[in-house]
Symmetry: C2
């Protein structure tokens, strides 16, 4: 569950057009057309990207009248951020231990 959600979130962020949508949305909510206009593709194609962003939970949207308004969910952003951050910290902690070991007086090293 959580794992496949990470799959989808990272996959969503792997595409520059979708990241452009995210960049736009962090400035505030936008309609489908507003998100699609700057992209080098047809509107239906842009909607597929939007769907990808929605399926991983990065973006939510609601339709009112004929306009669909989209906004990002910052919680999902930090989910991805946390995964990376935690792994980096493990690596750093490991380096610290290694450094301490190398600096220790020889008789402590065993």
């Amino acid at each position: 569950m959580l794992n496949s959600s990470l799959d989808k979130t990272f996959a969503a962020l792997a595409d520059p057009n979708r990241r452009a949508m995210v960049e736009r949305l962090v400035q505030g909510p936008a309609t489908v057309s507003e998100l699609a206009r700057p992209l080098p593709m047809s509107l239906p194609a842009a909607m597929l990207h939007l769907r990808v962003l929605e399926e991983c939970g990065l973006v939510t949207s609601q339709k009112s009248g004929r306009v669909r308004t989209c906004r990002i969910d910052p919680a999902r952003l930090s989910l991805a951020e946390q995964w990376v951050s935690e792994r980096r910290k493990i690596w750093e902690a490991r380096l610290d231990r290694l450094g301490a070991f190398l600096n220790a007086p020889e008789e402590e090293r065993k």
Copy 2:
């Protein structure tokens, strides 16, 4: 350049098998076989995943004798982390401004 590097990094992290490799590597360097063994696939398939991790710079490796030793590059990990983190901060700053606006006395709101 930087953009396509982000593409590749996020794409690399989108696959659970590759994330498992990263998980293993944050514990310390490992050989190709050690990385491949726990994965539900053949060795050549695992090597393709490894190549993906190398191409985005998340992993480096060097061969000595018949053994190739792989290690992660934490700088690349933080590259991905930063992109997400910066966008989340933009969004949060925006929410803060919005909150300040809503809390302001009416005559300041313009």
